[in-house]
Symmetry: C2
Subunit: 289 residues, 2 copies
Amino acid sequence: MTTEFTTRITEAVVDSLEGTADLRLRELLAALTRHLHAFVRETEPTMAEWERAIAFLTATGQTCTDTRQEFVLLSDVLGVSMLVETINSDERGGVTESTVLGPFHMTDSPVRALGADIDLVGGGEPCVISGRVLSRDGTPLPGAVLDVWQANDQGYYDVQQPDVQPSGNGRGLFTTDDEGRFRFRTCVPSPYPIPTDGPVGDLLHATGRHPYRPAHIHFIASAAGHAPVTTHIFVAGSDHLDSDAVFAVKESLVKDFSETDDPALAREFGVPNPFRHARFDLVLNPETP
Amino acid sequence: MTTEFTTRITEAVVDSLEGTADLRLRELLAALTRHLHAFVRETEPTMAEWERAIAFLTATGQTCTDTRQEFVLLSDVLGVSMLVETINSDERGGVTESTVLGPFHMTDSPVRALGADIDLVGGGEPCVISGRVLSRDGTPLPGAVLDVWQANDQGYYDVQQPDVQPSGNGRGLFTTDDEGRFRFRTCVPSPYPIPTDGPVGDLLHATGRHPYRPAHIHFIASAAGHAPVTTHIFVAGSDHLDSDAVFAVKESLVKDFSETDDPALAREFGVPNPFRHARFDLVLNPETP
């Protein structure tokens, strides 16, 4: 039951933080205390529920390794990662919207020439990605850098299949040309599940949620004098666009990958005509001086 | 910055829980999502702060072992354990107030006769603890069971010093007599620090908080037809009564351990007269049928 004690203890914890040297840390911990206590007062967990929560958090920490971050996954499936990413971006004035970095940006992307194929294995459906990097006012940005990574047509990143995919498969670091343009060839990516063999998988199972992410390609775009943007493009029509397991879809990032009939461009990229082609521009915010 | 997306994502996560078979789990996760997102929107953590939080939670999970529960300790120092314990107790009508179980109730207390000494080592200041177990209406409860455990006068529990203290030192399981009375001998406990060599210790250090708990003796009182109570008594005048690291002090639980001049009782307990003596009653709630 709620008593005078259950409200007074919140201020006692907040007061205990007054010696915190880092004032921002104090602000964060005080707010965390207030919200966490409000959650407990609202839901009145039993001792057994509290013990289950402790066991879940412990298992989540103990599932983490050098190559797996289960707490990031938990943050992802609760929408917290997307919320933090979006709060830290400034999407006014037509600037490209951001989305989650995800856990697979763990190796350096190989430097590639414009027009190169990042699908080093083949077998998937070929496609061409092209567009421009622009400043918010529409000025093209030559020399902008695009870091690109994606899963293959089976839904796996190179680092997940070191025996099947060469390192750097599905990855490329491109620099825009004198008119701010970029272009590369790849295969159409597939939806794939996030890892389900840990506590977060158990949580998804208990809540009747599927673990899939819709098909997407990751980008980090950066240019001198501009704030970088971490984002994806999603394949229009992909399964799970309406129910991304990590809530990362924003409508402006869903791009048409439909068939194009352009024999000259097909020759340039070495793909059979007609071919699938996604065109889009990345728009960056000038950094405030 | 806050956008339409940063508010809409909260309802998207809550909506994703609608397939949860366990309706109480759904309620808990929906409330957790709303409070967690509200915390993030209020504090607007940077990506670096989010990464630091992920690293802290991961380290907390990885500090847990079979004999150490760092997430319980985190719950303790944020006042959450006390809040949950208090919410789950019914302290109306003069019933003994509850406080945290703590991490040291991990072994069975040895059954002891009334009047026995639970200090198997000696060397500390002897004292006598006596009182009654009563129902809320004042009726004495014969055959009630008191599980008692405490740290020694150096501030360590038996399980922390297996080479120094015999197993069961500072512990006893007592049954009240025909008039609901209990009595035992022990040494006056000392304040002691919670473990500080893990992430929770780092948190206390960063917030300028000391890790000490005021001197106390743990009790779980249970009797047929009554709700058990998990509580402590605190030694009046102990250091840190106003700043318990786990916020577990309630004023009604602070008991006088002052000197008593009673040669007959001193002889009965084999302590030099005068001696320190704490007297108190434990009052239990009848179970609602």
